[in-house]
């Protein structure tokens, strides 16, 4: 008897509370969004979400381990990796309604600073995203000497004017065959040719979740494998348009891949 009475009181309280709210408050009503408005009574489509892009690096599918002569390329050379630094530009999400959202104009990644492995995008509209694209390196409009003077990759990523100017796209360095020999796979515009390339990955992503993570993975060994088998040498390749074009073709083929949660 007593119990029923208690329940009854509670219900009547709830009723009283509801009656007070006459006005409709517009806002985002999704608790999983970054701008959830607890006062809102009507969802007006303004919800925003966080997206995190993570950059990962593998060799033969395994996470990169630096400074160890444990890798073998298709040309059967043993090699290690000490430095990996690269620029991705125009990282863009494309939505079903034809609009695109530029997430970052230029993003610099270096394995010596894990904070560069993340690109956190705040306040993204909820939409059905159907593709993600990015450019490896800088296209010729961006790849201009001193264009990015105040970025963290200046001065160390500069490509001398003497051999064309602009910036490196990638510096992949280590030893090969013996610890006494270093290689430097440095890619960039050479002989007036812009060797940057754009990758466009179809995805099916509805960002309506507190934190969505999209992974862009670089499979490092593939730079040297497919379709062109590339030998590591101690000779620089920065003035070598032929080598640059072989690396570009390999880069386009299967160096990058995308992982994202499927709902």
């Amino acid at each position: 008897m007593k119990r029923i009475f208690v329940i009854f009181t509670t219900i009547s309280l709830v009723f009283t509370a509801c009656e007070k709210e006459e006005e409709i408050i517009e806002g985002c009503t999704d608790t999983g969004s970054v701008n959830y408005n607890s006062n809102a009574t009507n969802d007006n489509g303004s919800c925003k979400y966080n997206l995190s892009i993570n950059f990962t690096h593998t060799i033969d599918g395994n996470p990169l381990e630096i400074n160890q002569m444990i890798y073998t390329n298709t040309a059967s050379q043993n090699y290690s990796i000490q430095t990996l630094r690269y620029l991705l530009s125009d990282i863009t999400l494309h939505s079903a309604n034809g609009t695109s959202t530029l997430l970052d104009e230029v993003h610099f990644i270096t394995i010596s600073d894990p904070s560069t492995f993340n690109l956190d995008i705040q306040d993204l509209n909820s939409a059905n995203y159907i593709a993600i694209s990015f450019t490896m390196g800088l296209d010729s409009l961006k790849n201009i000497t001193n264009n990015y003077l105040n970025e963290s990759f200046f001065p160390s990523f500069s490509w001398p004017d003497f051999i064309g100017g602009g910036y490196h796209y990638m510096q992949l360095e280590g030893d090969y065959t013996t610890a006494l020999q270093g290689y430097a796979t440095h890619t960039g515009g050479t002989d007036g040719i812009d060797f940057s390339f754009t990758k466009h990955f179809p995805i099916s992503l509805n960002i309506a979740n507190a934190n969505t993570i999209v992974i862009i993975n670089m499979e490092i060994n593939n730079w040297y494998s497919n379709p062109n088998i590339i030998n590591l040498t101690t000779d620089g390749i920065m003035g070598n348009a032929n080598k640059q074009s072989l690396l570009q073709a390999n880069g386009i083929a299967d160096v990058f891949s995308i992982f994202y949660p499927i709902k």
Binding site: Q82, T145, P155, S156, A179, L180, G182, A184
Partner: protein, 339 residues
């Protein structure tokens, strides 16, 4: 009693009852840094803006032995202007006649450095300036003593008042003034700079050296690149095999993979800053070039850009001379004669 009765004025007098119109207020003149072509904006801490008053006070402090315990040594004694603010001796000698283990760095465009000392042990110029004053093998003083000497000095209290509007000279303001002066040590008017502007010609030999420096033939630009001639990074350029006597960056980060890495110095004014390397081991540019030309020593942390250890660049004698001729185009005579 009459005087200035406004308590926000510099000459506020607590005893004054009637204001005689003599009040004057704290104001400083901004010191404008001209960013040389090819340089980013200088990163100036927001709590220490550049002022004409601060810079000139900093210069006075930099040159004044008052900061040392026995009043015999100023910053300028180890960072001599004629040598592009470096020490021509391999190791500098402190006030107690003790020598350190590192060559005094040249102070050139250091406002653009992202860390200081060969091992990057300081992250700001303000922080760095605390160190030589109290270092027992340098000026061997005590900051409390410095503060009391400056506060009782005939000129300094007024100069600090003008620069920072303070009544008591605290060590933080001493290093702020010094750092402001150090940020004005800008060198960007060498023959090479004039060549880039089309105002000077390089000789055939200098141009040959320019090409070696800026291509993978010499591969100097990867670490000493751009018009800054440095990369703000740390490398082991193959000077020594293990075991290392000086761990460099590794001692600061406690990370063995940083052992024997040192901050890449700018090559501007390199003709003036002998001896070379963190320990001043090379007395001539010929020796430096020979080091790179013969490839360097193997160690676990040697930079992969030292691509052919023990073999080196294999430059001809002419090419070596050309490279040195190019390095000498980086000398800026105004830098050592101004001020």
């Amino acid at each position: 009693m009459s005087g200035c009765t406004d308590n926000t004025a510099v000459n506020y007098s607590a005893d004054a009852i009637t204001d005689d119109g003599s009040c004057f207020f704290f104001s400083t003149t901004p010191f404008i840094i001209e960013t040389p072509s090819g340089f980013p904006e200088m990163n100036i801490p927001s709590n220490n803006p550049m002022t004409v008053e601060g810079v000139s006070l900093g210069e006075k402090l930099f040159k004044d032995p008052i900061l040392s315990r026995n009043n015999t040594q100023a910053c300028i004694n180890c960072h001599q202007q004629n040598f592009s603010f470096s020490d021509p001796n391999q190791y500098s000698t402190g006030i107690d006649h003790i020598q350190g283990i590192r060559n005094a760095s040249a102070l050139i465009n250091i406002g653009w450095n992202t860390s200081f000392n060969w091992d990057g042990s300081s992250l700001t110029l303000e922080e760095q300036a605390f160190e030589p004053v109290s270092n027992p093998i340098e000026m061997h003083n005590d900051w409390k003593v410095v503060e009391s000497t400056l506060n009782t000095h005939a000129d300094y209290p007024t100069l600090f008042k003008e620069a920072f509007n303070i009544d008591y000279i605290d060590s933080n303001y001493v290093v702020m003034a010094i750092a402001q002066f150090e940020r004005t040590l800008i060198s960007a008017n060498s023959k090479f700079d004039r060549y880039l502007k089309g105002e000077a010609q390089l000789t055939v030999s200098e141009l040959g050296g320019y090409a070696i420096f800026n291509s993978e033939k010499g591969d100097c630009f990867h670490c000493h690149g751009t018009q800054m001639f440095m990369d703000n990074l740390f490398h082991n350029n193959g000077l020594d095999p293990e075991p290392f006597t000086d761990l460099g960056l590794g001692k600061i980060t406690n990370n063995a993979s940083d052992n024997a890495k040192f901050k890449t110095p700018t090559l501007r004014n390199i003709e003036l800053t002998a001896p070379y390397m963190h320990d001043g081991r090379f007395s001539t540019l010929e020796e430096v070039v020979e080091h790179y030309n013969s490839g360097g020593e193997y160690s676990l942390t040697v930079d992969p850009l030292m691509k052919k250890l023990g073999v080196g660049l294999q430059l001809t004698n002419q090419e070596k001379q050309d490279l040195i001729a190019f390095l000498k185009t980086l000398t800026d005579n105004n830098f050592i004669s101004e001020k």
